[in-house]
């Protein structure tokens, strides 16, 4: 393994991200903050929601922000770079096995997802004001869930980015991302679906459910949530699956 090449590729991505920092932040942070404000402040202060909703909302918002950031950070550049201009070609020729370029993409996506999580948590908390009621009793488990969510987001981005063409980006959002968010237990806990047993079972196919419920379970354990150990196990499996699928797709796309 050629670490110097790997580090240079990371440096390139970091350089590009730094250049686009303002756009990147707006792109990933604005929407979740608007959600936090409308759901967590407007609806609560008008009495349409109870105060306890704040604690329920914040882990969900953190999960969705991390997941969308990771997917976006890996998939969007990949879709562009594999298109007509083949911008990625020069990096595929770097003296390193091409799989490592995919690993670099995953690592970089993870870092962005983690940064997004680290920014959205305090900002969201600030917007929500008093009474969020978060208590992290098992910080290591919490960090483990965060880590697995970051891997899920960037490996998912790799798999998606290598499977979707430029003309299908709109479709990717309406067919994959939007349903994933709305059925991802982001704005409500999984137990809220008790009255919709079929949907409740079906949403278990959506990995974002485990991200939201995992963070909820480690941040607001007093609210009903899926078992955190189960969540960790499933996230591990999803991560492994997406990494393998993503690397496969990447290889397939890179070499004709």
């Amino acid at each position: 393994m050629n670490w110097r090449t790997f580090a240079a590729l990371l440096a390139r991505d970091a350089h590009v991200a730094r250049r686009n920092l303002a756009t990147l932040l707006l792109q990933t942070m604005l929407q979740p903050m608007l959600f936090v404000f409308v759901f967590g402040r407007v609806l609560i202060s008008s009495g349409m929601m109870t105060e306890s909703y704040k604690g329920l909302l914040l882990p969900g918002i953190m999960a969705v922000t991390m997941v969308i950031t990771g997917i976006w950070a890996v998939a969007m550049p990949l879709i562009a770079e594999f298109q007509f201009t083949r911008e990625i070609e020069d990096r595929l020729l770097a003296p390193m096995r091409i799989e490592w370029l995919a690993v670099e993409k995953i690592l970089f996506g993870m870092l962005q997802a983690l940064i997004a999580g680290a920014v959205v948590l305090p900002t969201g908390w600030l917007v929500l004001g008093k009474g969020v009621g978060i208590s992290i009793t098992q910080p290591l488990l919490w960090l483990a869930v965060i880590f697995l969510v970051a891997v899920f987001s960037s490996a998912g981005g790799l798999a998606l980015g290598c499977s979707v063409g430029q003309t299908q980006i709109g479709l990717m959002f309406s067919m994959v991302i939007a349903p994933m968010i709305f059925f991802g237990c982001v704005y409500y806990p999984w137990s809220a679906l008790n009255h919709f047993p079929v949907i409740q079972k079906l949403v278990l196919l959506n990995p974002l459910v485990y991200a939201s419920e995992g963070l909820r379970g480690t941040m607001v354990p007093h609210i009903a949530h899926l078992s955190t150990l189960l969540v960790v196990g499933i996230l591990l499996a999803v991560d492994a699956l997406l990494i393998v699928a993503g690397l496969n797709r990447f290889n397939h796309k890179s070499v004709s």
């Binding site: 550049p77 562009a80 201009t85 083949r86 020069d90 003296p95 096995r97 004709s256």
Partner: protein, 344 residues
């Protein structure tokens, strides 16, 4: 010590439309059997393009070697295989001592590649493109600065080196792509149709740079459909068509190998049996090929034959509608072997 390139029995069959790694997919897809309406026909097999069919070549260290052929001949696929971007269906290729498929990383260290289509990193400026490229190869930061400065100067890009390349013209992109391939000082430089999109002046500059690079003992392999380029630049040339090498040698050897050297392409009002034999008997004529209402006539002289040809045709009451005389060239060689022009 220079590094050579070798390939043995390379064959490539695309079963799906070739992605751009193959150089732009300029294939005429010959759809194979299997597109039938039968339910058991496997739709997967419906697309099949044989891009290369048993190509074996050896490029010596320190040589400028040219692959000459029309679009879709298999040049880019050959380049793609040698540069790890296309997986061969059969056969092997080596860069130096390294098998390109089994020892990819070592092979990649030795090569610099310019693709047919400029594939610059649009997220970076020209200077950053050169600098990051060298960083991928582990070139030290101070050396990166020095080399990028030198190459930007050499390729006349210094003035706009700080700009994002999105706004570059096609020719500038091509120049930068070539500069980038030289940044890590590779032992073998692969250039896939390098002068596409360059104006004549820049083309001459590029030729000079390639020769200079080669003088330092480096191997250069380039593909082109431009005969002048192949003739002017290459020590040896392989002419390739439909995935086969149809001729191989130095430009002079190849030109000498054309029977007669001169080609007279004649168009008649109609063809008549016997006329071809009579033409063949004319002094200096080495070969006559019938081509619709006309012939391709190879001879060791050009214009002085016309009077005799007209006389022969008069005996058969055939009018001569058109004459095109070309001097010995690689174009004629290609015509001789394939019956088609390189530009077709």
């Amino acid at each position: 010590m220079g590094v050579g390139v070798r390939m043995e029995g390379l064959r490539k069959v695309y079963t799906s439309p070739p992605p751009l790694a193959a150089g732009g997919g300029s294939f005429a897809p010959a759809r194979g059997p299997g597109l039938g309406k039968k339910k058991d026909a496997k739709p997967k097999k419906s697309f099949q393009v044989v891009a290369l069919d048993g190509v074996s070549l050896e490029i010596q260290a320190g040589e400028i070697f040219g692959l000459l052929g029309p679009n879709g001949a298999g040049k880019s696929t050959t380049m793609g295989i040698l540069t790890t971007r296309v997986r061969p269906t059969e056969g092997h290729a080596w860069v130096g001592d390294y098998n390109v498929w089994q020892q990819q990383v070592q092979a990649k260290r030795l090569i610099g590649v310019v693709q047919q289509r400029p594939n610059l990193d649009f997220a970076l400026t020209a200077r950053e493109i050169l600098s990051f490229h060298a960083a991928y190869y582990g070139v030290a930061p101070s050396e990166r600065v020095r080399r990028s400065k030198e190459l930007l100067e050499r390729f006349q890009l210094t003035d706009r080196a700080h700009e994002m390349v999105r706004g570059y013209s096609g020719g500038m992109m091509q120049r930068l792509a070539i500069a980038r391939a030289m940044m890590h000082d590779p032992q073998v430089l692969f250039l896939d149709e390098p002068s596409t999109g360059l104006d004549p002046q820049t083309r001459l500059l590029l030729w000079e740079i390639i020769r200079e690079y080669n003088r330092s003992g480096k191997t250069v392999m380039l593909s082109t459909h431009n005969m002048d380029e192949a003739d002017a630049l290459c020590h040896r040339i392989a002419i390739i068509d439909h995935g086969h090498v149809i001729a191989l040698g130095t430009p002079n050897e190849l030109k000498r190998s054309i029977p007669g050297g001169y080609l007279l392409r004649l168009k008649f009002s109609h063809n008549s049996p016997g006329v071809v034999d009579r033409l063949r008997q004319l002094h200096g004529v080495t070969e006559v090929q019938t081509l619709g209402d006309g012939v391709d006539l190879y001879a060791d002289r050009g214009g002085s034959l016309i009077r005799e040809i007209v006389a022969v045709l008069a005996d058969y009451a055939i009018d001569l509608h058109d004459v095109h005389i070309s001097e010995p060239s690689l174009e004629n060689l290609f015509l001789h072997h394939t019956g088609r022009s390189l530009r077709q």
